[in-house]
């Protein structure tokens, strides 16, 4: 007998199946292939299917590859922290200080540059940060500095480009968290004698922390995996993991090594995920 529940389950399976198969075919299988590839080797001009960990050993023994991992982690952590610290007050100001009917507009303005192409945005920063660029000209013109700041082609430039992007992203997510926080929590705290700072510290901040963590994790993932910004803004003064991966892919034609480095990158992201896992649950309304 087909009970209603069984029919329901069958329908549910039929609905989930396409996405599952899709994910399997175009996400899980590619990942497996990449993992397999990472165990092969580039020998001379050929890829040979010997199964060993020599790519990983190489990675661990070559300081310039290991260095790329460290650069990646340092830059990503720096970017994540700076972005959160910059975005939170802005989101707070929009949510709390801007009149309600203007909040959408304020938010739209805060993310407007989102709509320039990502590649173009990095390029635009090179123009801003160049030795004779807008920033230096303006600062010199204003008499604030005598010699142009040397920001272009440095880690500072990379971090600036990243922070620009993620401040927008985080302002959005943190704002969304702030406005969905029921007003009664803040009222209750104020009612019990908390001043504005105490309300923020004891109530608003802890209650928006999960949202911040989600945003921070998103920032981490997107930042550590990005190739464009460091490539355009970093001036090759140092390399991050994605740049090294792309080098293996292009100049080195070493797909196995690229795959191995990708697995390393994946491991870092997974570690970050585990670190924030308890804030990253997907809930239904």
């Amino acid at each position: 007998m087909t009970t209603p529940e069984r029919a329901e389950r069958r329908r549910a399976w039929a609905a989930v199946a396409p996405a599952l198969l899709w994910t399997l075919a175009f996400f899980v299988v590619p990942f497996a292939m990449m993992a397999a590839m990472s165990l092969w080797q580039r020998q001379g001009r050929e890829v040979v299917r010997v199964w060993d960990l020599s790519n990983y050993q190489d990675f661990l023994s070559k300081p310039h590859l290991l260095g790329a991992l460290w650069n990646s982690i340092e830059i990503t952590v720096l970017v994540t922290v700076i972005s959160v610290v910059l975005a939170y007050p802005l989101a707070w100001i929009i949510a709390e200080r801007v009149p309600r009917h203007l909040q959408r507009l304020a938010l739209a303005l805060a993310v407007l540059p989102f709509w320039t192409s990502y590649v173009v945005r990095s390029y635009a920063w090179t123009l801003v940060l160049a030795k004779n660029g807008v920033l230096n000209q303006a600062l010199i013109g204003a008499g604030l500095i005598a010699e142009p700041l040397e920001i272009s082609a440095t880690r500072g430039a990379t971090v600036t480009g990243f922070v620009h992007f993620f401040v927008m992203l985080l302002t959005l997510t943190i704002y969304a968290n702030l406005v969905q926080l029921p007003a009664n929590y803040r009222r209750a705290a104020a009612d019990l004698g908390a001043g504005p700072l105490a309300v923020f510290w004891h109530v608003t901040l802890p209650l928006t922390l999960p949202g911040i963590m989600v945003g921070a994790f998103l920032t981490f993932v997107l930042c550590i995996g990005d190739y464009i910004t460091p490539q355009i803004l970093g001036g090759n003064s140092e390399l991050v993991l994605p740049q090294v991966i792309m080098l293996q892919l292009g100049r080195g034609a070493d797909l196995p090594m690229a795959a191995a480095l990708s697995i390393v990158l994946m491991t870092v992201v997974t570690a970050a995920w585990l670190a924030c896992a308890r804030w990253l649950r997907l809930e239904r309304a």
Binding site: N184, A188, A190, D191, L192, G193, A198, H202
Partner: protein, 355 residues
């Protein structure tokens, strides 16, 4: 720990809406006052103005004789229990209760001891280490109460604190609220739109409607002698019979009604009532009883509905007028279509404006 409250001509506008319209009200220290009224009548607005979350457009708030109109919530001798409890979800129950004390700079040990005391007061001994989400609705309600009382406010404000509870729990919490209020002696201002709840707990009921106070007084006064048609109908089912003043004098008023002439004894000055004036006579269903002394009303039964403690009977009075509702004892044998004579004691009826 307790203080009188005085609202002076409070008006509050939201854009074009006038949520409160010249509300004046005095409450004694230690009183349990209930603001009762339909949705949108301005109860929450009034409570917000008392608590300092809203500023009045005009008028003053005095607590313990001091004008607090300009003070923020944190500096008023009031605390609020919110309908949704607003317990801090990231703190334990004890931390919630101790929050106000912490803001006042009380030491950890001292405030935790006090939190335990407060939890005991509301019957939640030992629940201090739990998180709000681990509690049932009724338990959360108690925590919210304990948190608000912990800072020893002069006035406790409660905005439909029982609205989210199911009926049984609600009736039970009413009793507890009342007994806690008696123990602490704090002035309670409690908002509800449930008139049974209001009667069960209030020392004084303040009936609101459309931003104004319609009536105020003890539950008995407001139920049995309502000052307005609105109050009369809001406090419970009532039959309103149109009446015309035939004459007055000798402490009595002579009314012409569809049910026949009614002689009503009234206290006070009758000269204000003009002969010919149109009024309404309010008769509660439980005051219409079979075959008793008083004014007799013959009629025909339209419908009987068994309601447990009584039978609810609708009948068409023979003289004329709109159908009446009467509560008859369970045992009364009445059936639709049957003729029946009921009676009521004019002393139990109440005279109300026509509309």
């Amino acid at each position: 720990m307790t203080a009188p409250v005085e609202l002076v001509a409070i008006t509050r506008d939201f854009g074009a809406t006038r949520a409160l319209d010249g509300v004046s009200l005095g409450l004694s220290a230690g009183e349990f006052a209930v603001l009762l009224g339909p949705s949108g009548c301005g109860k929450t607005t009034l409570l917000g103005i008392l608590g300092g979350f809203l500023a009045p457009s005009a008028g003053h708030v005095l607590i313990g004789g001091q004008d607090v109109t300009a003070l923020p919530p944190a500096r008023r001798p009031t605390t609020t229990v919110f309908q949704d409890y607003a317990l801090f979800p990231h703190m334990s129950v004890a931390q919630n209760v101790a929050f106000g004390l912490r803001m006042r700079g009380m030491r950890r040990l001292a405030r935790m001891a006090r939190a335990d005391e407060m939890l005991a007061l509301v019957g939640l001994q030992g629940a201090g280490t739990r998180r709000p989400h681990e509690l049932s609705g009724g338990q959360r309600q108690r925590v919210a109460l304990a948190r608000a009382l912990a800072v020893e406010p002069d006035v406790l404000l409660l905005d439909e604190p029982l609205g989210a509870l199911d009926l049984k729990l609600r009736r039970q919490m009413q009793d507890e609220l009342k007994s806690i209020q008696r123990r602490v002696g704090t002035t309670f201002v409690h908002v509800t739109h449930d008139q049974e709840e209001a009667m069960a707990i209030a020392d004084r009921i303040v009936v609101m409607n459309g931003g104004r106070i319609e009536d105020e007084g003890t539950p008995q006064r407001v139920y049995l002698r309502p000052r307005s048609r609105f109050t009369a109908a809001f406090m419970g089912e009532i039959n309103l019979v149109p009446a015309r003043v035939g004459g007055a004098g000798d402490g009595h008023l002579l009314l012409e009604t569809a049910l026949g002439p009614v002689r009503l004894a009234l206290k006070g000055d009758l000269s204000a009532v003009q002969p010919g004036a149109r009024l309404a006579l309010g008769i509660r269903p439980e005051h219409l009883r079979p075959d008793e002394a008083g004014l007799r009303i013959p009629g025909t039964v339209i419908e009987t509905i068994f309601s447990g403690t009584h039978q609810r009977v609708r009948l068409q009075p023979s003289p004329a007028g709109p159908p009446l509702v009467a509560h008859l004892p369970q045992g009364a044998r009445v059936a639709p279509g049957e003729a029946i004579t009921l009676a009521f004691d004019p002393a139990a009826a109440v005279l109300l404006p026509e509309a």
